[in-house]
């Protein structure tokens, strides 16, 4: 019984996580302006460390 409850909870957590990520990803790709995307990309490339 307890194992079954754990399994259901785990599946629900995974499902919710994937839905949140999917929705966030859709919202961000729509709502971020090209300028914001550029700013993020510029900051990310500045922090890029190829050595580690």
């Amino acid at each position: 019984m307890e194992q079954e409850r754990e399994r259901v909870l785990r599946e629900a957590r995974e499902e919710i996580a994937s839905l949140v990520v999917l929705t966030t990803s859709k919202v961000l790709s729509k709502d971020l302006s090209e300028e914001e995307k550029e700013r993020f990309s510029a900051k990310a490339t500045e922090e890029l460390n190829l050595v580690s």
Binding site: R13, A17, V20, T24, S25, E38, T45, E46
Partner: protein, 132 residues
């Protein structure tokens, strides 16, 4: 492969690269046409060995860069500087493209390594942390 072929291929590789050590298709064409003219013995072996070396070099000199935004000179030059600052650095050519799936950020393929920092990769990490 014989020592002679090895050293010949090394020479051919030198002739296929420009002053910065970058393989250029025009130079490769020249090398191949001169090989055709000379038609040396065991030319097939030579050509095969030459092709292998050219492929190896191209793999090391071509860096695939995907960006979540419109590619621009500033981003490309930052990435190029980072690659050139590597201890084992050599002249590289960037093949830059836009990948909307990244949303923003970059994905860089450098020989066998992939470096990525994009909104997509951050969301994927976040998703993993929920379920870990």
């Amino acid at each position: 492969m014989s020592v002679k072929i090895n050293s010949l291929v090394r020479e051919l590789m030198k002739s296929s690269a420009n002053d910065h050590g970058v393989i250029e298709s025009s130079l490769v064409e020249k090398v191949i046409s001169s090989l055709r003219e000379i038609n040396p013995p065991r030319h097939l072996e030579i050509l095969k060995a030459y092709l292998i070396e050219i492929r190896k070099s191209l793999r090391h000199q071509l860096v695939e860069v995907e960006l979540g935004c419109q590619p621009n000179e500033s981003l490309e030059s930052t990435i190029k500087d980072k690659i050139n600052s590597l201890p084992s650095s050599r002249s590289v050519e960037l093949q830059v493209s836009k990948n909307d799936n990244l949303i923003a950020g970059y994905r860089i393929r450098l020989v066998d390594d992939v470096f990525e920092d994009s909104i997509q990769s951050r969301l994927a990490k976040l998703s993993q942390s929920f379920t870990a």
